[in-house]
């Protein structure tokens, strides 16, 4: 090992392979059988359970936990996957502390919810590791549906459509399907190539063709798709990244957090991923935390996460904030970027402290930085899209866009939080609506 956390500049190999493997291990390993039974025993099997209401995909949580408790995790998995075909990934990435587990009555009773997320993973992993795909296609309808974007929304839509007997073609701009599951979340949340394995498992339903390297404006047009297919679903995500809009933004070392996360996820050797000694991440969402934590885990000496508002306004959950803090990320709030300073490459970045209404206070601070990751939100990209509102494709009902025969869901569509689980729900519901329209 030639480099260390103290090495100057943006370099790889700050930590040795063992340390890296340890740092990027599974954040929440799958529960052992005994742990799962103990955890499942805590569920009260509530009536009209609050956790179900809190789940964007309406998984029957008390039922699946009871199925685990009674020794049938495979049946539990089917209960989960019926509602959420990406239940395996959602078990890993859902901010359960702000969804199902937040409203768990045992959180009310004891401040300690049933570990719903981990139980979900136990069930789905059990089934998927057995190689079982518990759904079958209905008789072929002869209808063809195009799905643009192989992320959570597109995959959920494609699976549901294929299950109903339609022939589905999924297009994706990248060379691999999976979308943000594959490229956009922290590595320690999806170890062992889980995202890719989940896609392979999902495709076992049959009737789905994946074409990579194709996007709207890059080999595809909505007009042509509408002509070639009976329906189109857009799950194209948010491809653009917001700019800081400050002087010096173009300097070397100032990068998009999503690109860093994608590079890290695709790296065959984490020792090859270059990281700065002094890293500053700007933003307050999950992407910002994922970038900051992983920068630290790669061996950066100093990692600061700077957010322009207070902690309570951060999109990253308290759990994520605490995770970042526990890994040694310094969280600085109420500070807006003013200028990127450096001679060619960034050397420092200046922030101005603001109050909670973002009013400048006049006080500034400079933070040493040889690498800056921007994570202040993403934007919809693409021409000739259906009507938009507030930067997203406007949808009504179950993902219907302004264009007849075109549906949309996931981050690119209006309504709902930008969460994997929400994207799955929207993809699934749009698929049901498409199915209804095609078989009407």
């Amino acid at each position: 090992m030639t480099n260390s956390p103290l090495s100057e500049g943006i370099v790889g190999g700050r930590l040795g392979p063992d340390q890296l493997a340890d740092n990027f291990g599974d954040l929440h390993p799958r529960l052992e059988d005994h742990e799962a039974l103990v955890a499942a025993d805590r569920c009260y099997f509530c009536h009209d359970a609050p956790c179900m209401d809190a789940c964007p995909t309406d998984i029957d949580i008390p039922l699946f936990i009871r199925q685990i408790a009674t020794g049938t995790p495979e049946a539990a998995a089917k209960t989960i996957l019926n509602q959420n075909i990406l239940g395996g990934m959602c078990a890993r990435v859902c901010p359960t502390e702000t969804l199902c587990e937040q409203v768990c009555v045992r959180e009310t009773a004891e401040g300690k919810p049933v570990e719903i997320g981990r139980l979900q993973r136990y069930a789905t992993d059990t089934l998927m590791q057995a190689g079982v795909h518990p759904f079958e296609r209905a008789a072929a309808t002869g209808k063809r549906v195009a799905v643009v974007g192989a992320g959570p929304a597109g995959l959920a839509a494609a699976h549901r459509l294929a299950m109903h007997g339609h022939d589905v073609t999924v297009f994706d701009a990248r060379q691999k399907p999976g979308g943000l599951n594959e490229f956009g979340i922290a590595s320690y949340k999806s170890v062992d190539d889980f995202a890719a394995k989940e896609v392979d498992w999902l495709l076992k339903i049959g009737g789905i063709t994946v074409e990579t390297g194709k996007a709207l404006g890059a080999g595809l047009t909505l007009e042509a798709l509408k002509g070639d297919y009976d329906a189109v679903f857009l799950g194209i995500g948010l491809g653009g990244v917001n700019a800081l809009g400050v002087d010096g933004e173009e300097k070397g070392g100032v990068l998009d957090a999503v690109d860093f996360i994608a590079e890290l996820r695709q790296a065959s050797d984490l020792g090859d991923v270059a990281i700065g000694r002094d890293v500053v991440v700007i933003g307050g969402g999950m992407t910002a935390v994922d970038a900051a934590v992983q920068a630290k885990l790669l061996g950066a000496l100093n990692v600061s996460l700077v957010y322009r508002r207070g902690r309570e306004r951060m999109n990253a959950s308290v759990f994520e904030q605490d995770l970042a803090a526990s890994k040694g990320v310094r969280i600085i709030t109420n500070a807006s970027p003013k200028a990127v300073i450096g001679n060619g490459a960034v050397r420092e970045i200046e922030f101005e402290y603001t109050d909670d209404d973002l009013k400048p206070t006049g006080q500034t601070v400079r933070i040493a930085a040889d690498q800056v990751f921007k994570a202040i939100g993403q934007t919809l990209e693409g021409a000739a899209l259906p009507e938009t509102e507030r930067g997203k494709i406007k949808v009504t009902g179950a993902g219907r866009t302004s264009v007849k025969g075109v549906w949309a869901g996931g981050d690119c569509a209006s309504g709902g939080d930008d969460l994997t689980v929400t994207a799955v729900a929207e993809g699934r519901d749009a698929a049901e609506d498409i199915h209804a329209a095609l078989t009407a």
Binding site: L37, D41, Y44, C46, H47
Partner: protein, 434 residues
């Protein structure tokens, strides 16, 4: 601190907690450990007649029922009486009693239903210095097939006969252990009394199959593909045992027959309940087999604290205190009206009370959009199911309506006077009597 000293039919022990005749009391090693841990007495695991010792199965002897978190709620066994030589047991009993003179040592016995057999063994036991004997008329498996155990206990005439033989042939107190595998516990209890028993102890284990191995398709515990009914014990049997204790205690003929209460005693509270229903002391087995001998320390401290709180200075103070309140259904006061009340501050909004009431009872709980649960007094029959299914202690309670207060369900004010079924207008017999 309350004095837990116990005197049961003249047998003294420093506390009323005895270990029941079972594997924990099968040999000197265990019993010494039990006494060191603080147990007041033991009933030594059943001895049989001189000769080749009995043979046990060499496969699993126990089956179990578990609650949440694998808490053991019920245990069944197919073990027989001691499989160690009689002389070994007698020597060990003598040694233990010599070293622990303040503890009660009772010897459980089971020999064939012939007077000679009993005459032969009784002097041998007497010679050990044991404080008393317990006649095992309860064991429901194995030995019963050989005409002993519950095969005797199920025939009141045999119970009386064998008890009489023992009383005639020993000076030691005779406790008759009763089987619950009968239709009316009063019959064997009365028989024991007629035979001269100093006390009865109950219950022995209940015929049971605790599970079925769905791969082998055989009852559990499974021995080479077959299973047999075993004897069921543990917390799950406590309600059955307490009812039988109470039946004997409140029956005029047997009311003065001392009872050693057995069946699922796990905590000091269980013991206090048995004793309140009329048991002079209690015997424990499954709790010790589940948690080890140390649990007696909780039983001692808990009973002592409770007695202090209630002002009882000796265990005799509260033995049988609840017996007069055990009655027949027909004497229950039908004019006593209660309503469930849900404490919204304690409620964690699980909705189980709602599901139970709405699906399976009287549709007497309403649920608002934001999950507030309230009892509908005009529908509530006070069945108590919501109280029972609520996971939070004392979150749902029963409020007694005062005389004169309107019962919204019936539209009638609550009557002040006692009124039971015997006098109820709907009872044809009540009319005929007039």
């Amino acid at each position: 601190m309350a004095n837990l000293q116990s005197n049961f039919v003249g047998i003294k022990s420093p506390n009323p907690f005895w270990l029941a005749s079972a594997p924990p009391t099968d040999k000197e090693y265990n019993v010494r450990r039990a006494f060191e841990a603080g147990w007041g007495g033991v009933v030594w695991k059943t001895l049989g007649e001189e000769g080749p010792p009995v043979v046990n199965v060499n496969g699993p002897r126990y089956g179990a029922i578990h609650g949440a978190d694998r808490r053991l709620l019920g245990l069944n066994n197919i073990e027989l009486i001691t499989d160690r030589p009689l002389q070994t047991n007698l020597q060990e009993i003598k040694a233990v009693k010599r070293d622990y003179p303040d503890r009660a040592v009772i010897v459980s016995l089971m020999v064939p239903c012939e007077e000679e057999a009993w005459k032969a063994i009784l002097p041998l036991v007497e010679e050990t210095g044991a404080d008393g004997i317990e006649l095992n008329f309860g064991c429901p498996h194995g030995m019963a097939e050989r005409g002993m155990g519950s095969a005797v206990g199920q025939v009141p005439e045999y119970v009386e006969m064998v008890t009489r033989w023992c009383k005639a042939n020993t000076r030691m107190p005779v406790i008759v252990k009763l089987t619950p595998n009968i239709t009316n516990i009063l019959n064997p209890a009365t028989a024991a009394m007629k035979g001269g028993a100093d006390a009865v102890s109950l219950i022995n284990t209940i015929n049971s199959i605790t599970g079925v191995d769905l791969d082998v398709m055989a009852p559990m515990p499974t021995i080479d593909g077959k299973g047999t009914h075993g004897g069921y014990c543990g917390p799950a049997v406590k309600p059955i045992a307490m009812n039988m204790v109470a039946e004997i205690a409140r029956n005029a003929e047997t009311a003065n027959l001392p009872i050693s209460g057995i069946g699922g005693v796990t905590t000091w509270r269980d013991a206090a309940e048995f004793m309140a229903l009329g048991a002079g002391n209690v015997q424990v087995c499954t709790a010790a087999m589940t948690y080890g001998f140390k649990i007696v320390q909780e039983m001692i401290s808990g009973l002592s604290q409770w007695m202090d709180e209630k002002g009882h200075t000796s265990t005799a103070d509260f033995v049988g205190m609840a017996t007069p309140n055990v009655t027949d259904w027909q004497y229950l006061n039908l004019n006593h009206v209660t309503k469930a009340v849900i404490n919204e501050d304690d409620c964690i909004k699980c909705g189980r009370c709602y599901a139970a009431c709405e699906d399976t009872s009287h549709q007497a709980i309403e649920m608002t959009e934001d999950r507030v649960f309230r009892v509908k007094d005009d529908e509530c029959v006070a069945c108590n199911l919501c109280v029972n299914v609520c996971p939070v202690e004392d979150c749902i309670t029963m409020r007694t309506l005062a005389p004169g207060e309107m019962d919204e369900r019936t539209g009638q004010p609550v009557a002040a006077e006692y009124g039971n079924w015997l006098a109820h207008p709907n009872n044809p017999a009540s009319q005929a009597a007039e």
